[in-house]
Amino acid sequence: MQCKELEAVLESEGLSPLPQEAREHLASCTNCQDLLADLSAIVVAAKRVPAEVTPPDRIWISVRAQLEAEGIIRDAEPRVTPAPSPWWQGFAELFRPRVLAGVGTGLFLVFGGFYLVEHRGTTNIAPQPTPVQTQASQNPNTVAPPSTEVNPVAPAKNPLRQVQTAHAASVAPEPRPSNKSLLPSPSENAYLGDSAAVLSATEDSLPRRELTGNATVDASLRQNLRTLNGFIAECEARLKQNPQDQLTREYLNMAYQQKAELLTAMMDSGRSEH
Protein backbone atom coordinates (compact mmCIF):
# COMPACT_ATOMS: atom_id res chain seq x y z
CA MET A 1 0.00 0.00 0.00
CA GLN A 2 1.18 3.52 -0.83
CA CYS A 3 0.61 6.77 1.09
CA LYS A 4 -2.13 7.90 -1.32
CA GLU A 5 -3.94 4.62 -0.87
CA LEU A 6 -3.80 4.98 2.89
CA GLU A 7 -5.25 8.47 2.56
CA ALA A 8 -8.05 7.08 0.44
CA VAL A 9 -8.79 4.59 3.19
CA LEU A 10 -8.83 7.38 5.77
CA GLU A 11 -11.21 9.37 3.58
CA SER A 12 -13.67 6.54 3.15
CA GLU A 13 -13.40 4.82 6.51
CA GLY A 14 -12.25 7.59 8.78
CA LEU A 15 -9.97 6.99 11.74
CA SER A 16 -11.79 3.88 12.78
CA PRO A 17 -9.75 0.68 12.98
CA LEU A 18 -7.83 0.44 9.73
CA PRO A 19 -7.54 -2.67 7.59
CA GLN A 20 -4.47 -4.87 7.87
CA GLU A 21 -2.77 -3.48 4.76
CA ALA A 22 -3.09 0.07 6.04
CA ARG A 23 -1.69 -0.88 9.42
CA GLU A 24 1.31 -2.54 7.74
CA HIS A 25 1.98 0.61 5.73
CA LEU A 26 1.68 2.77 8.80
CA ALA A 27 4.27 0.70 10.59
CA SER A 28 6.85 1.58 7.97
CA CYS A 29 5.85 5.16 6.97
CA THR A 30 6.58 8.04 9.33
CA ASN A 31 4.72 10.58 7.17
CA CYS A 32 1.51 8.59 7.38
CA GLN A 33 2.11 8.04 11.09
CA ASP A 34 2.36 11.81 11.52
CA LEU A 35 -0.76 12.35 9.45
CA LEU A 36 -2.76 9.87 11.46
CA ALA A 37 -1.47 11.28 14.73
CA ASP A 38 -2.31 14.87 13.69
CA LEU A 39 -5.79 13.97 12.54
CA SER A 40 -6.41 12.12 15.79
CA ALA A 41 -5.18 15.17 17.72
CA ILE A 42 -7.61 17.37 15.80
CA VAL A 43 -10.50 15.03 16.56
CA VAL A 44 -9.59 15.02 20.23
CA ALA A 45 -9.32 18.82 20.27
CA ALA A 46 -12.67 19.13 18.51
CA LYS A 47 -14.28 17.18 21.33
CA ARG A 48 -13.21 19.98 23.69
CA VAL A 49 -15.02 22.59 21.64
CA PRO A 50 -18.40 23.14 23.26
CA ALA A 51 -21.17 21.53 21.30
CA GLU A 52 -23.73 23.74 22.97
CA VAL A 53 -23.75 27.42 23.70
CA THR A 54 -26.58 29.04 25.59
CA PRO A 55 -28.15 31.71 23.42
CA PRO A 56 -29.41 35.02 24.81
CA ASP A 57 -32.99 35.01 26.00
CA ARG A 58 -33.91 37.81 23.67
CA ILE A 59 -33.84 35.44 20.71
CA TRP A 60 -36.70 33.34 22.04
CA ILE A 61 -38.59 36.45 23.08
CA SER A 62 -38.30 37.77 19.57
CA VAL A 63 -39.16 34.44 17.96
CA ARG A 64 -42.13 33.96 20.21
CA ALA A 65 -43.45 37.44 19.56
CA GLN A 66 -43.16 36.87 15.83
CA LEU A 67 -44.93 33.51 16.06
CA GLU A 68 -47.72 35.03 18.10
CA ALA A 69 -48.06 37.87 15.63
CA GLU A 70 -48.34 35.35 12.81
CA GLY A 71 -50.91 33.33 14.73
CA ILE A 72 -48.74 30.21 14.81
CA ILE A 73 -48.74 30.17 18.58
CA ARG A 74 -52.43 30.20 19.25
CA ASP A 75 -52.60 29.92 22.99
CA ALA A 76 -50.56 32.80 24.22
CA GLU A 77 -49.88 33.19 27.91
CA PRO A 78 -53.26 32.99 29.60
CA ARG A 79 -54.33 36.36 30.77
CA VAL A 80 -55.25 36.42 34.42
CA THR A 81 -58.84 37.53 34.62
CA PRO A 82 -59.86 38.81 38.02
CA ALA A 83 -62.69 37.04 39.76
CA PRO A 84 -66.00 38.87 39.62
CA SER A 85 -66.06 41.29 42.50
CA PRO A 86 -69.10 42.13 44.58
CA TRP A 87 -71.19 45.07 43.45
CA TRP A 88 -70.24 47.21 46.40
CA GLN A 89 -66.61 47.14 45.40
CA GLY A 90 -67.61 49.32 42.49
CA PHE A 91 -68.16 52.16 44.94
CA ALA A 92 -64.73 51.61 46.38
CA GLU A 93 -63.35 52.34 42.93
CA LEU A 94 -64.88 55.82 43.17
CA PHE A 95 -62.83 56.62 46.24
CA ARG A 96 -59.46 55.79 44.82
CA PRO A 97 -57.08 58.72 45.17
CA ARG A 98 -56.76 59.21 41.44
CA VAL A 99 -60.51 59.20 40.92
CA LEU A 100 -61.03 61.57 43.78
CA ALA A 101 -58.35 63.89 42.50
CA GLY A 102 -59.90 63.89 39.05
CA VAL A 103 -63.39 64.52 40.33
CA GLY A 104 -62.13 67.24 42.65
CA THR A 105 -60.30 68.98 39.87
CA GLY A 106 -63.35 68.78 37.63
CA LEU A 107 -65.62 70.22 40.29
CA PHE A 108 -63.14 72.95 41.03
CA LEU A 109 -63.02 73.92 37.37
CA VAL A 110 -66.80 73.86 37.02
CA PHE A 111 -67.46 75.93 40.10
CA GLY A 112 -64.56 78.19 39.31
CA GLY A 113 -66.03 78.79 35.89
CA PHE A 114 -69.44 79.57 37.35
CA TYR A 115 -67.88 81.85 39.90
CA LEU A 116 -65.91 83.72 37.27
CA VAL A 117 -69.00 84.18 35.11
CA GLU A 118 -71.06 85.41 38.01
CA HIS A 119 -68.27 87.52 39.39
CA ARG A 120 -67.59 89.16 36.07
CA GLY A 121 -71.28 89.88 35.62
CA THR A 122 -71.54 91.63 38.97
CA THR A 123 -68.16 93.27 39.27
CA ASN A 124 -68.34 95.16 36.03
CA ILE A 125 -70.13 97.80 38.02
CA ALA A 126 -68.25 97.08 41.26
CA PRO A 127 -71.18 97.27 43.67
CA GLN A 128 -70.35 97.93 47.30
CA PRO A 129 -71.95 95.93 50.05
CA THR A 130 -75.23 97.43 50.94
CA PRO A 131 -75.81 98.72 54.41
CA VAL A 132 -78.20 95.89 55.14
CA GLN A 133 -75.58 93.26 54.26
CA THR A 134 -72.97 95.02 56.35
CA GLN A 135 -75.24 95.40 59.26
CA ALA A 136 -76.54 91.88 59.02
CA SER A 137 -73.01 90.52 59.08
CA GLN A 138 -72.16 92.62 62.09
CA ASN A 139 -75.32 91.94 64.02
CA PRO A 140 -75.75 88.32 64.99
CA ASN A 141 -79.38 88.90 65.80
CA THR A 142 -80.16 90.06 62.33
CA VAL A 143 -82.44 87.76 60.40
CA ALA A 144 -81.17 87.31 56.91
CA PRO A 145 -83.71 87.82 54.17
CA PRO A 146 -85.16 84.51 53.12
CA SER A 147 -84.47 83.20 49.66
CA THR A 148 -87.10 83.61 47.03
CA GLU A 149 -87.41 79.84 46.61
CA VAL A 150 -89.02 79.46 49.99
CA ASN A 151 -91.34 82.32 49.42
CA PRO A 152 -94.82 80.84 49.69
CA VAL A 153 -96.40 83.80 47.98
CA ALA A 154 -97.21 83.14 44.36
CA PRO A 155 -95.06 85.31 42.07
CA ALA A 156 -97.95 86.62 40.03
CA LYS A 157 -99.82 87.77 43.09
CA ASN A 158 -96.82 89.09 45.00
CA PRO A 159 -95.65 92.56 43.93
CA LEU A 160 -92.39 92.06 45.81
CA ARG A 161 -91.63 88.97 43.72
CA GLN A 162 -92.19 91.08 40.61
CA VAL A 163 -89.66 93.56 41.90
CA GLN A 164 -87.18 90.79 42.63
CA THR A 165 -87.64 89.17 39.22
CA ALA A 166 -87.32 92.45 37.42
CA HIS A 167 -84.19 93.25 39.39
CA ALA A 168 -82.64 89.89 38.61
CA ALA A 169 -83.23 90.51 34.96
CA SER A 170 -81.72 93.96 35.18
CA VAL A 171 -78.49 92.75 36.81
CA ALA A 172 -78.07 89.66 34.62
CA PRO A 173 -74.62 89.54 33.02
CA GLU A 174 -74.75 91.31 29.73
CA PRO A 175 -72.23 92.91 27.46
CA ARG A 176 -71.03 96.16 28.89
CA PRO A 177 -73.25 98.88 27.45
CA SER A 178 -71.86 101.68 25.41
CA ASN A 179 -71.71 105.23 26.71
CA LYS A 180 -74.90 106.00 24.93
CA SER A 181 -76.72 103.15 26.63
CA LEU A 182 -75.53 104.37 30.01
CA LEU A 183 -78.10 107.11 29.83
CA PRO A 184 -81.24 106.15 31.68
CA SER A 185 -83.99 105.28 29.33
CA PRO A 186 -87.56 106.42 30.12
CA SER A 187 -88.51 102.80 30.69
CA GLU A 188 -85.78 102.42 33.31
CA ASN A 189 -86.93 105.49 35.15
CA ALA A 190 -90.48 104.24 35.03
CA TYR A 191 -89.35 100.86 36.33
CA LEU A 192 -87.59 102.44 39.29
CA GLY A 193 -90.60 104.56 40.03
CA ASP A 194 -92.89 101.57 39.88
CA SER A 195 -90.59 99.57 42.16
CA ALA A 196 -90.48 102.36 44.70
CA ALA A 197 -94.26 102.65 44.65
CA VAL A 198 -94.80 98.91 45.07
CA LEU A 199 -92.31 98.69 47.89
CA SER A 200 -93.80 101.70 49.70
CA ALA A 201 -97.28 100.23 49.44
CA THR A 202 -96.01 96.91 50.79
CA GLU A 203 -94.19 98.59 53.62
CA ASP A 204 -97.32 100.48 54.54
CA SER A 205 -99.25 97.25 54.70
CA LEU A 206 -96.89 95.72 57.25
CA PRO A 207 -98.57 95.07 60.57
CA ARG A 208 -97.60 97.55 63.19
CA ARG A 209 -97.55 95.02 65.94
CA GLU A 210 -94.91 92.41 66.48
CA LEU A 211 -93.91 90.30 63.48
CA THR A 212 -92.14 87.22 64.74
CA GLY A 213 -93.13 87.08 68.35
CA ASN A 214 -89.58 87.93 69.25
CA ALA A 215 -89.09 91.59 70.05
CA THR A 216 -85.35 91.50 69.38
CA VAL A 217 -85.83 89.99 65.95
CA ASP A 218 -88.63 92.40 65.15
CA ALA A 219 -86.46 95.32 66.16
CA SER A 220 -83.59 94.02 64.05
CA LEU A 221 -85.83 93.61 61.01
CA ARG A 222 -87.30 97.08 61.38
CA GLN A 223 -83.83 98.54 61.91
CA ASN A 224 -82.66 96.86 58.70
CA LEU A 225 -85.65 98.26 56.90
CA ARG A 226 -84.92 101.76 58.18
CA THR A 227 -81.27 101.51 57.13
CA LEU A 228 -82.32 100.25 53.73
CA ASN A 229 -84.84 103.05 53.33
CA GLY A 230 -82.17 105.57 54.22
CA PHE A 231 -79.82 104.08 51.61
CA ILE A 232 -82.59 104.11 49.03
CA ALA A 233 -83.41 107.72 49.81
CA GLU A 234 -79.76 108.68 49.42
CA CYS A 235 -79.52 106.87 46.08
CA GLU A 236 -82.73 108.48 44.84
CA ALA A 237 -81.43 111.91 45.87
CA ARG A 238 -78.17 111.31 43.98
CA LEU A 239 -80.04 110.13 40.93
CA LYS A 240 -82.12 113.27 40.96
CA GLN A 241 -78.94 115.30 40.99
CA ASN A 242 -77.24 113.19 38.36
CA PRO A 243 -79.60 110.99 36.37
CA GLN A 244 -76.67 109.54 34.35
CA ASP A 245 -75.00 108.02 37.43
CA GLN A 246 -75.21 104.40 36.37
CA LEU A 247 -73.47 103.11 39.48
CA THR A 248 -75.96 104.76 41.79
CA ARG A 249 -78.74 103.36 39.65
CA GLU A 250 -77.37 99.88 40.11
CA TYR A 251 -77.07 100.42 43.84
CA LEU A 252 -80.66 101.58 43.93
CA ASN A 253 -81.74 98.52 42.01
CA MET A 254 -79.98 96.25 44.44
CA ALA A 255 -81.39 98.15 47.39
CA TYR A 256 -84.91 97.73 46.01
CA GLN A 257 -84.28 94.02 45.64
CA GLN A 258 -83.00 93.75 49.18
CA LYS A 259 -85.94 95.73 50.46
CA ALA A 260 -88.28 93.44 48.60
CA GLU A 261 -86.65 90.40 50.12
CA LEU A 262 -86.72 91.97 53.57
CA LEU A 263 -90.36 92.89 53.29
CA THR A 264 -91.15 89.40 52.07
CA ALA A 265 -89.42 87.96 55.10
CA MET A 266 -91.22 90.33 57.43
CA MET A 267 -94.59 89.58 55.86
CA ASP A 268 -93.95 85.85 55.94
CA SER A 269 -92.98 86.04 59.58
CA GLY A 270 -96.13 87.92 60.44
CA ARG A 271 -98.26 85.53 58.37
CA SER A 272 -96.77 82.43 59.93
CA GLU A 273 -97.35 83.83 63.38
CA HIS A 274 -101.00 84.32 62.70
Binding site: L35, D38, I42, A46, R48, P50, P55, P56, V63, R64
Partner: protein, 242 residues
Protein backbone atom coordinates in the same frame (compact mmCIF):
# COMPACT_ATOMS: atom_id res chain seq x y z
CA UNK B 1 -22.63 1.23 11.48
CA UNK B 2 -24.56 4.41 11.78
CA UNK B 3 -26.81 4.57 14.75
CA UNK B 4 -29.93 5.62 13.01
CA UNK B 5 -32.12 4.32 15.79
CA UNK B 6 -34.31 7.20 16.73
CA UNK B 7 -35.13 7.63 20.32
CA UNK B 8 -37.56 10.49 20.78
CA UNK B 9 -36.38 11.89 17.51
CA UNK B 10 -32.73 12.00 18.49
CA UNK B 11 -30.16 9.49 17.42
CA UNK B 12 -28.13 7.67 19.97
CA UNK B 13 -24.90 9.42 19.25
CA UNK B 14 -26.50 12.83 19.09
CA UNK B 15 -28.19 12.04 22.35
CA UNK B 16 -24.90 11.03 23.87
CA UNK B 17 -23.44 14.40 23.06
CA UNK B 18 -26.45 16.23 24.36
CA UNK B 19 -26.69 14.13 27.48
CA UNK B 20 -23.01 14.35 28.18
CA UNK B 21 -23.07 18.09 27.96
CA UNK B 22 -26.23 18.74 29.83
CA UNK B 23 -26.26 15.76 32.11
CA UNK B 24 -29.92 15.12 31.46
CA UNK B 25 -31.84 12.10 30.35
CA UNK B 26 -33.49 11.69 27.01
CA UNK B 27 -36.69 13.64 26.87
CA UNK B 28 -35.63 15.74 29.80
CA UNK B 29 -32.78 17.36 27.97
CA UNK B 30 -34.22 20.82 28.02
CA UNK B 31 -33.94 22.70 31.24
CA UNK B 32 -37.62 23.04 32.04
CA UNK B 33 -38.68 26.44 33.14
CA UNK B 34 -40.22 26.59 36.55
CA UNK B 35 -43.63 27.25 35.10
CA UNK B 36 -43.67 24.11 33.00
CA UNK B 37 -45.81 21.58 34.72
CA UNK B 38 -44.55 18.50 32.86
CA UNK B 39 -41.50 17.32 30.96
CA UNK B 40 -42.77 16.05 27.65
CA UNK B 41 -41.10 13.75 25.22
CA UNK B 42 -39.94 15.45 22.06
CA UNK B 43 -42.59 13.63 20.02
CA UNK B 44 -45.31 14.84 22.32
CA UNK B 45 -43.97 18.38 22.23
CA UNK B 46 -43.94 18.26 18.42
CA UNK B 47 -47.53 17.06 18.35
CA UNK B 48 -48.61 19.78 20.73
CA UNK B 49 -46.73 22.48 18.88
CA UNK B 50 -48.43 21.41 15.67
CA UNK B 51 -51.65 22.30 17.46
CA UNK B 52 -50.25 25.69 18.41
CA UNK B 53 -49.43 24.96 22.03
CA UNK B 54 -47.11 27.72 23.19
CA UNK B 55 -45.57 25.63 25.97
CA UNK B 56 -44.62 23.00 23.41
CA UNK B 57 -42.87 25.59 21.26
CA UNK B 58 -41.04 26.73 24.34
CA UNK B 59 -40.06 23.16 25.17
CA UNK B 60 -38.70 22.46 21.70
CA UNK B 61 -36.78 25.70 21.67
CA UNK B 62 -35.20 24.99 25.03
CA UNK B 63 -34.35 21.50 23.88
CA UNK B 64 -32.47 22.47 20.74
CA UNK B 65 -31.54 26.12 20.97
CA UNK B 66 -28.11 25.62 22.50
CA UNK B 67 -26.89 23.27 19.81
CA UNK B 68 -28.37 25.38 17.04
CA UNK B 69 -26.82 28.50 18.48
CA UNK B 70 -23.44 26.81 18.80
CA UNK B 71 -23.65 25.72 15.18
CA UNK B 72 -24.54 29.22 14.01
CA UNK B 73 -21.81 30.73 16.15
CA UNK B 74 -19.13 28.40 14.79
CA UNK B 75 -20.29 28.98 11.27
CA UNK B 76 -20.32 32.78 11.21
CA UNK B 77 -17.97 33.59 14.11
CA UNK B 78 -20.09 36.57 15.04
CA UNK B 79 -22.58 36.53 17.92
CA UNK B 80 -24.89 39.12 16.39
CA UNK B 81 -25.05 37.27 13.08
CA UNK B 82 -25.47 34.00 14.93
CA UNK B 83 -28.46 35.34 16.84
CA UNK B 84 -29.99 36.59 13.65
CA UNK B 85 -29.49 33.29 11.88
CA UNK B 86 -30.78 31.26 14.78
CA UNK B 87 -33.89 33.37 14.98
CA UNK B 88 -34.49 32.89 11.28
CA UNK B 89 -33.92 29.14 11.57
CA UNK B 90 -36.39 28.71 14.41
CA UNK B 91 -38.96 30.87 12.70
CA UNK B 92 -38.73 28.68 9.63
CA UNK B 93 -38.90 25.58 11.78
CA UNK B 94 -42.01 26.60 13.65
CA UNK B 95 -43.69 27.92 10.54
CA UNK B 96 -43.28 24.54 8.92
CA UNK B 97 -43.71 22.35 11.94
CA UNK B 98 -47.18 21.41 10.80
CA UNK B 99 -45.61 19.61 7.84
CA UNK B 100 -43.20 17.55 9.95
CA UNK B 101 -44.14 13.89 9.56
CA UNK B 102 -41.23 12.31 11.39
CA UNK B 103 -39.48 10.81 8.35
CA UNK B 104 -36.23 12.07 9.81
CA UNK B 105 -35.20 13.02 13.27
CA UNK B 106 -36.52 16.34 14.39
CA UNK B 107 -33.04 17.58 15.27
CA UNK B 108 -31.86 16.61 11.80
CA UNK B 109 -34.73 18.50 10.28
CA UNK B 110 -33.93 21.51 12.42
CA UNK B 111 -30.23 21.39 11.61
CA UNK B 112 -30.97 21.10 7.92
CA UNK B 113 -32.94 24.31 8.09
CA UNK B 114 -30.24 25.96 10.13
CA UNK B 115 -27.47 24.94 7.76
CA UNK B 116 -29.48 26.14 4.80
CA UNK B 117 -30.13 29.49 6.47
CA UNK B 118 -26.46 29.87 7.36
CA UNK B 119 -25.15 28.89 3.96
CA UNK B 120 -27.62 31.16 2.24
CA UNK B 121 -26.40 34.02 4.38
CA UNK B 122 -22.78 33.23 3.62
CA UNK B 123 -23.52 33.16 -0.07
CA UNK B 124 -25.29 36.49 0.09
CA UNK B 125 -22.38 37.98 1.95
CA UNK B 126 -20.07 36.65 -0.74
CA UNK B 127 -17.40 35.82 1.71
CA UNK B 128 -14.01 35.00 0.22
CA UNK B 129 -14.56 31.31 0.70
CA UNK B 130 -15.26 28.38 -1.53
CA UNK B 131 -18.82 27.91 -2.55
CA UNK B 132 -20.83 25.04 -1.21
CA UNK B 133 -21.02 23.42 -4.65
CA UNK B 134 -17.27 23.47 -4.96
CA UNK B 135 -16.60 22.12 -1.53
CA UNK B 136 -19.24 19.45 -1.83
CA UNK B 137 -17.84 18.18 -5.10
CA UNK B 138 -15.21 15.62 -4.25
CA UNK B 139 -13.75 15.68 -7.73
CA UNK B 140 -13.21 19.39 -7.92
CA UNK B 141 -9.57 20.39 -8.10
CA UNK B 142 -9.77 23.09 -5.48
CA UNK B 143 -11.67 20.96 -3.04
CA UNK B 144 -8.80 18.62 -2.44
CA UNK B 145 -6.31 20.05 -0.01
CA UNK B 146 -2.80 19.53 -1.24
CA UNK B 147 -0.04 18.44 0.96
CA UNK B 148 2.93 20.69 0.91
CA UNK B 149 5.60 18.15 0.19
CA UNK B 150 8.49 20.54 0.70
CA UNK B 151 7.30 21.78 4.05
CA UNK B 152 8.41 19.99 7.16
CA UNK B 153 5.75 17.87 8.80
CA UNK B 154 5.01 19.32 12.17
CA UNK B 155 3.61 17.06 14.79
CA UNK B 156 0.43 18.57 16.11
CA UNK B 157 0.12 16.29 19.10
CA UNK B 158 0.09 18.52 22.15
CA UNK B 159 0.13 21.67 20.01
CA UNK B 160 -3.54 21.72 19.12
CA UNK B 161 -5.42 23.67 21.69
CA UNK B 162 -8.98 24.84 21.51
CA UNK B 163 -8.13 28.42 20.57
CA UNK B 164 -5.92 27.37 17.67
CA UNK B 165 -8.49 24.91 16.47
CA UNK B 166 -11.38 27.38 16.59
CA UNK B 167 -9.27 29.94 14.75
CA UNK B 168 -8.53 27.35 12.09
CA UNK B 169 -12.15 26.26 11.85
CA UNK B 170 -13.05 29.87 11.02
CA UNK B 171 -10.81 29.63 7.96
CA UNK B 172 -12.40 26.50 6.59
CA UNK B 173 -14.68 26.75 3.57
CA UNK B 174 -18.35 26.69 4.63
CA UNK B 175 -18.98 23.16 3.37
CA UNK B 176 -15.98 21.70 5.18
CA UNK B 177 -16.76 23.74 8.25
CA UNK B 178 -20.34 22.54 8.41
CA UNK B 179 -19.45 18.88 8.14
CA UNK B 180 -16.59 19.14 10.62
CA UNK B 181 -18.73 20.95 13.23
CA UNK B 182 -21.64 18.58 12.81
CA UNK B 183 -19.49 15.45 13.05
CA UNK B 184 -16.49 16.18 15.21
CA UNK B 185 -17.94 18.91 17.43
CA UNK B 186 -21.62 18.06 17.69
CA UNK B 187 -21.36 14.31 17.25
CA UNK B 188 -23.68 13.66 14.31
CA UNK B 189 -23.24 10.57 12.19
CA UNK B 190 -22.54 10.66 8.48
CA UNK B 191 -26.02 9.50 7.55
CA UNK B 192 -27.48 12.36 9.55
CA UNK B 193 -25.07 14.84 8.06
CA UNK B 194 -25.94 13.54 4.64
CA UNK B 195 -29.59 14.17 5.47
CA UNK B 196 -28.84 17.62 6.78
CA UNK B 197 -26.57 18.64 3.94
CA UNK B 198 -28.51 16.92 1.23
CA UNK B 199 -25.59 14.83 0.04
CA UNK B 200 -24.48 11.21 0.12
CA UNK B 201 -22.87 9.47 3.05
CA UNK B 202 -19.69 9.00 1.04
CA UNK B 203 -19.63 12.67 0.25
CA UNK B 204 -20.00 13.49 3.91
CA UNK B 205 -17.06 11.22 4.80
CA UNK B 206 -14.94 12.72 2.08
CA UNK B 207 -15.78 16.25 3.16
CA UNK B 208 -14.91 15.42 6.74
CA UNK B 209 -11.53 13.95 5.83
CA UNK B 210 -10.71 16.98 3.68
CA UNK B 211 -11.80 19.28 6.41
CA UNK B 212 -9.49 17.55 8.87
CA UNK B 213 -6.51 17.58 6.54
CA UNK B 214 -7.17 21.24 5.72
CA UNK B 215 -7.29 21.98 9.42
CA UNK B 216 -4.00 20.19 9.83
CA UNK B 217 -2.45 22.50 7.26
CA UNK B 218 -3.92 25.56 8.86
CA UNK B 219 -2.70 24.50 12.28
CA UNK B 220 0.75 23.81 10.91
CA UNK B 221 0.78 27.27 9.38
CA UNK B 222 -0.19 28.74 12.71
CA UNK B 223 2.57 26.83 14.46
CA UNK B 224 5.10 27.97 11.86
CA UNK B 225 3.95 31.57 12.24
CA UNK B 226 4.26 31.38 15.98
CA UNK B 227 7.73 29.83 15.72
CA UNK B 228 8.80 32.52 13.26
CA UNK B 229 7.58 35.29 15.53
CA UNK B 230 9.38 33.74 18.49
CA UNK B 231 12.63 33.61 16.49
CA UNK B 232 12.24 37.22 15.42
CA UNK B 233 11.56 38.39 18.93
CA UNK B 234 14.54 36.38 20.19
CA UNK B 235 16.77 37.97 17.52
CA UNK B 236 15.54 41.37 18.45
CA UNK B 237 16.33 40.73 22.10
CA UNK B 238 19.83 39.45 21.37
CA UNK B 239 20.47 42.41 19.01
CA UNK B 240 19.46 44.88 21.63
CA UNK B 241 21.74 43.20 24.19
CA UNK B 242 24.77 43.32 21.84
Amino acid sequence: MCSSTSVLGTTLKGTRRIASSSGAAIGLLARPRPTEPVAWTEAEAIRRSQAGDSAAFDFLYQLHSRRVYALCLRMVNNPADAEDLMQEAFLQLFRKIGTFRGESAFSTWLHRMTVNVVLMRLRKKSLPTDSLEETLDPDAENSSPKRDVGAPDLRLSGAVDRVNLERSIEQLPPGYRTVFILHDVQGYEHNEIADIMGCSVGNSKSQLHKARTRLRELLQEQIRDQARQERQSAKAQTGSKE
